[in-house]
């Protein structure tokens, strides 16, 4: 199903469609089997007691304290289980319901920077404030400067939005530029395409052909194409 994008360009705004794209090379229809039939995945209790406290050599020689064979081999049916949280230091694991959902934020070197309540991002493609075109970048610089994690194609929904998008594609293609897009009142916030989704920096790539048809691709990136500080430092 197409997403809706509220887009502003040239003093006009329109709600247009945003489509996912098919793979250029279709995935092979692979399946696994044995002589008996199709192979499937099942989840079993391993019977290995991980993080068993106080284990020493004598205990390991005397018995098997690292094993818990009471449930070993029991199949775990995903439909009849539910995730639960427990205190790992408690002698008997019991579910705890009233916990805080927290994000621990680390920097690129793995050092904790801050803690915050878990951040849930909401889709912002079709809000009151339209997605705005910001600065323009030379097309080749932008294409070679970022790792694009998703590509979606804009499509018109009526005759007016056809002209709106075709004019925008024509402008970008003529100048060989890529436009930076932004959300929010100032048009400088990253785009979130789905509920609880990832925030992406967004770019718009436009082309037109000789028949007057247009192609507008929304490129989403959360990563610049560059080396981490330590690798860059080592290289230097």
């Amino acid at each position: 199903m197409a997403l809706t994008l509220h887009l502003e360009y040239g003093g006009r705004s329109a709600r247009v469609a945003l489509h996912g794209l098919p793979l250029a090379k279709p995935k092979l229809a692979l399946h696994t089997a044995s002589k008996v039939g199709e192979v499937s995945l099942r989840r079993l209790v391993t019977g290995v007691r991980r993080n068993a406290d106080g284990l020493d050599f004598a205990q390991l020689v005397a018995g098997d304290p690292e094993l818990d064979l009471a449930l070993a081999g029991t199949e775990v049916d995903p439909d009849s289980t539910t995730p639960a949280w427990f205190d790992p230091s408690a002698s008997i694991a019991t579910p705890i319901g009233d916990f805080a959902d927290v994000d621990v934020v680390f920097d690129a070197h793995g050092v904790e920077k801050t803690r915050r309540p878990h951040l849930v991002r909401r889709s912002n493609l079709n809000e009151l404030h339209p997605i705005k075109l910001g600065k323009r970048l030379p097309a080749n610089d932008a294409l070679a400067g970022f790792a694009f994690k998703q590509t979606l194609q804009l499509a018109h929904v009526d005759g007016l939005s056809f002209e709106f998008l075709r004019d925008l594609a024509k402008d970008l293609a003529a100048k060989n530029e890529i436009a930076v897009l932004g959300a929010g009142p100032k048009g400088n916030m990253p785009l979130v395409t789905r509920e609880s989704g990832t925030a992406y920096r967004a770019f718009l790539h436009g082309e037109v052909d000789q028949q007057g048809r247009y192609k507008l691709l929304l490129l989403l990136s959360d990563q610049e194409l560059k080396l981490p500080d330590k690798i860059a430092g080592d290289a230097g």
Partner: protein, 189 residues
């Protein structure tokens, strides 16, 4: 020790060492979601129907046949014919083909590897990459810039020019579909 990849461009063989994968985490950091009570991090487990609580580490997946017997090794098929496994890219010479830079616009990147080596003229080159033996290597692009070479591994996408009537069949309905400065802020952790 870094592993080496060999590529063939026309009649020339090029060799590059593959550096560690570069991802968002290594560039900007990351956020780890935890459940916390009284300042203590809780562990995640599975609550069974009978009320028992298992740590997630106590459960493992196993491949079984329809009778429930463990199967190892497994056979992979395409349309009832055994699927051929292709060698790892580290064990073969992969062909390179120069392509226009615009191909980057229709390429969804999943992994980025810096390549250490020289001899590749600036530009964009198409190839395939498979870290291990696999049935279907992934699409890959080699981006050669003045400051180095990146291998972008991912999937090429098809796009289409649109006329007044939109070719809705073309689009894959299953597909997933406060800074005023000049620099784009990528620290959206």
């Amino acid at each position: 020790m870094a592993r080496a990849l060999s590529f063939r461009l026309a009649q020339i063989t090029l060799s590059f060492e593959v550096a560690a994968k570069v991802d968002k985490k290594s560039l900007y950091g990351y956020a780890k979601r935890i459940a916390e009570k009284d300042g203590k991090a809780l562990s995640r487990g599975l609550l069974l129907a009978d009320g028992r609580l298992l740590p997630t580490s106590a459960v493992a997946s196993i491949r079984v046949d329809p009778d429930g017997s463990p199967v190892d090794p497994i056979e992979t098929y395409i349309d009832d014919k055994p699927a051929e496994q292709k060698p790892s890219s580290f064990d073969i010479e992969s062909p390179l083909q120069a392509v226009p830079m615009a191909q980057l616009a229709a390429f969804q990147v999943s992994d980025v590897y810096p390549l250490i080596g020289s001899g590749l003229a600036p530009g964009l080159y198409r190839t395939e990459f498979s870290y291990r033996k696999s049935h279907q290597p992934k699409d890959a692009l080699l981006l050669s810039r003045a400051d180095g070479v990146f291998m972008l591994v991912g999937a090429g996408k098809l796009s289409t020019f649109l006329d007044l009537s939109v070719a809705y069949d073309f689009f894959d309905t299953q597909a997933e579909a406060d800074d005023d400065g000049d620099e784009l802020d990528f620290s959206m952790i």
